[in-house]
Subunit: 197 residues, 2 copies
Amino acid sequence: MGLARPLQQLIQELGRLPGIGPKSAQRVGLYVLRQPEADIRRLAALLVQVREKVRPCQRCGNLTDEGLCPICTDEQRDSSLLCVVEDAVDVLALERAGYRGRYFVLNQDPRRGRQPVLEDLDLKGLHRIVSEDQVREIIVATNPTVEGELTARFIARAMETSGVRVTRLAHGLPVGGDIEYTDELTLRRALEGRQTL
Amino acid sequence: MGLARPLQQLIQELGRLPGIGPKSAQRVGLYVLRQPEADIRRLAALLVQVREKVRPCQRCGNLTDEGLCPICTDEQRDSSLLCVVEDAVDVLALERAGYRGRYFVLNQDPRRGRQPVLEDLDLKGLHRIVSEDQVREIIVATNPTVEGELTARFIARAMETSGVRVTRLAHGLPVGGDIEYTDELTLRRALEGRQTL
């Protein structure tokens, strides 16, 4: 096809990554040629290292290259708060938002489809943290989708007898959003959840 | 920041690649965790191999991992046709379009800004191929931009005394495009270049 074979193969492999179309793959392929060799070697080594070393935390399911993740071992965390998220990237988002409790990451296999497989949820692991950390509140931060809603209700029901308060992230207008372009369901939720000024 | 350090670093490095935003970088980072280890090793090895081995062809500037690129050494090519392109990705596009002549890749350093540095153009290399291959027509396929136009005219002028025909790719409506949304310059060019049915 005209280009050097390793470059063609690289472009093909890059194009298989999620969110990277054929155009981006080409651009990245050519970019690699122009970067210092040390930078590309570092990127390559990181790819292998991540694949080899990073695993879900034994306790909370967050991603770590040790047995326990940095959040589970951090004594400064407010262990009475436990935030349940679908995926480890959600941990990043909540950290950025200033949350300082601990997490429980569901890690549902995305290859099993969009439907949450409720019987696969590690309720035992969740109960274990709740009792070990003397959790007072579980904040369910699953995505605001039908599936996330289902999972949230399932968890709330499973925790009913534990005496722990189970809450859900508020629905409403995104900051910087536009009422005119907000879908009616979100707007209805925003109305229902209105706050006194 | 909550996630395993190597994964954080990988996400950061991925986010530096062109066309990959922070969200895509996160998605790719997590995707790496779920792929077979052999696949990730292959991707990492390809990155290093491309950076180490792939160079511009000594003759035409196309990218290759040998001295001469596969197109320069392909005897089946129509060597009387020479297509001048800005970048090696343009070779891929023209190959897909069915072009079967040879190429001359300008490889202008994109870090030098958008302005073509005409004095940097390898006119000597171009003249060499023209005489070695007994080229009859040079098709200038620089991008349809002000800079590409400038480069095209510069090449046409440089070839004036050589007796070689210099042509330019046609301007006009993109196939599948919409006249209503076509900019006026393109439409004017499409009118000027109209063809008998």
